[in-house]
């Protein structure tokens, strides 16, 4: 028998009203504007777009505000919104080689064509809280310097590839798998893994990437290159008969160079892991590239022993919307389920008591 219980509607309505009140806070303090959030909390907005898997800074800023700064809640909101929109098609793959660079560093070569451009980074700061952050002191503009005539900055991995020292990219124009359209069946291709990692939880991927450094699926990584900047988005417009640029987005790319692999036919050469993420997010791009490399274990005849090398484990647990949904559902009413468990426990205990009593009787009889 299943008895539906109703109630709680007034409590829920009042709770949401209270949440809205607390979210707004002191009414004497001006409400946050979207410009403030996209402008001054831009890395939070970037994370929400990357893991929400939808590029739209204003929507991501609204989600951050609605979620009171709870980024996983904001990501959930953006994911829900994307299900309401039709998909018009797909863009041509972006060309990160043609990126308008805002930052570009290599940990493998000091002198690289195009140079090392630090850009707006937290690196080399002292990580001391700045008292100026409590006020609104004037902030200087960035310095400007004339660009050199030939400022071409080829990817570091392409430079290594020219010398045959690294596994080359295998170009193709195959239609990539799409985990938002078809159910996932294991094993999957690298295309689907990269899609899952690009929208995966930063914290989860960071921990997995860290685990490979600590020996759980070691790959001996070096940052070949990190580049951040804007890339043009081009789409084919069938009505026009050619592709047009529809705008540009900021992305972060990480090329992780890992230890060598050779075979009877090929001399040993470096292997690679790849990370690409919406926005300025190099921690996520680096973690993604470490995990991408770890997940390529089969390609290099490596034993799959560590969690970061387990494709199904990584892909099934890297999505924070799925994860939070299943973990957080535990707090919703489970009264009937729990009643069943309680009944089962009582039956087990009664049986055990009965068995103990019977044993006691048997022992007493034997003693007599």
């Amino acid at each position: 028998m299943y008895v539906a219980v109703k109630g709680g509607e007034a409590a829920i309505a009042n709770a949401h009203r209270l949440m809205a009140d607390r979210r707004r806070g002191d009414r004497a303090v001006p409400a946050l504007t979207l410009e403030q959030i996209t402008g001054q909390l831009s890395l939070a907005v970037d994370r929400v777009m990357a893991e929400g898997s939808l590029h739209d800074p204003d929507l991501a800023a609204m989600a951050v505000r609605q979620a009171r700064g709870d980024l996983i809640e904001a990501i959930f909101l953006l994911r829900a919104y994307r299900t309401t929109l039709p998909r018009f098609g797909h863009a041509r793959p972006i060309d990160t080689g043609a990126m308008r660079l805002e930052r570009r560093v290599s940990a493998t070569f000091k002198d690289i064509p195009g140079g090392q451009l630090l850009g707006p980074t937290f690196d080399y700061t002292h990580r001391l809280i700045d008292p100026a952050m409590a006020g609104d002191e004037p902030v200087e503009e960035g310095l400007r310097r004339q660009r050199e005539a030939d400022a071409a900055a080829p990817r570091v991995t392409d430079i290594l590839d020219d010398q045959g020292l690294i596994e080359p990219d295998v170009f193709s124009d195959d239609e990539p798998a799409d985990l938002t359209r078809e159910p996932t069946e294991y094993p999957v291709g690298r295309d689907l893994r990269l899609q899952a990692l690009a929208r995966g939880d930063e914290g989860f991927l960071l921990a997995l990437g860290y685990s490979t450094q600590r020996g759980y699926g070691r790959t001996h990584p070096f940052v070949g290159e990190i580049r951040i900047g804007t890339v043009d988005i081009e789409v084919e417009v069938p009505e026009l008969g050619f592709a047009i640029t529809i705008g540009s987005v900021r992305v972060t790319e990480c090329q992780m160079v890992s230890q060598f692999k050779g075979s009877a036919d090929t001399p040993p050469r470096f292997t690679r892991g790849y990370g690409l993420v919406f926005g300025q997010s190099e921690r996520k791009a680096m973690a993604m590239s470490l995990v991408d490399r770890a997940l390529r274990a089969d390609e290099f005849d490596e034993q799959r022993l560590a969690p970061a090398q387990d494709e199904e484990f990584v892909l099934e647990h890297c999505d924070n919307v799925m994860a939070t949904g299943f973990v957080e559902h535990l707090k919703l009413p489970h009264y009937v389920d729990f009643q069943a468990e309680l009944d089962l426990l009582r039956t087990l205990r009664a049986e055990q008591e009965q068995a103990t009593a019977d044993d006691h009787d048997t022992l007493s009889e034997a003693a007599e």
């Binding site: 898997s53 041509r92 660009r147 295998v170 193709s172 640029t245 529809i246 540009s248 987005v249």
Partner: protein
Amino acid sequence: MLNEADQVNHKHRLDVLATCEATLLAERYRALGGVPECFPVRGPEIGMVMLRGRAGGSGAPFNLGEATVTRASVKLESGEVGHAVILGRDMEKARIFAHLGAMAQRAEWAARIDRDVIAPALAAREADRAVRAEETEATRVDFFTMVRGED
């Protein structure tokens, strides 16, 4: 149908319209004055396109994540149809873009649009990009070597 040279020119025009900042585009569009009426064929409507990357930067494509886009198609009384697709959710910008795209197919408008809309939009875009590039340039590391010890 446009010939090849005109197509290259028209593509360039559309690329500039799509990447032009919305308030500048609206202002230059209004300043044109006496524009021919247009009728909506489709939209403006908001949807998404799937953005893609390539494994390793130049390998096989993969789906990176979606982006919101707005598309619009309009038709002039004289028959020319303009199509617009832009990143983001700005329906008015998409409509203006489609209208200008349609008008630019008429000889009497093409030169004016190129001069009064495309040229200033391109100049603004390049100026903006130059500032960013120069700010980045100032963060370039200039390595120097220090001689240590005595020889």
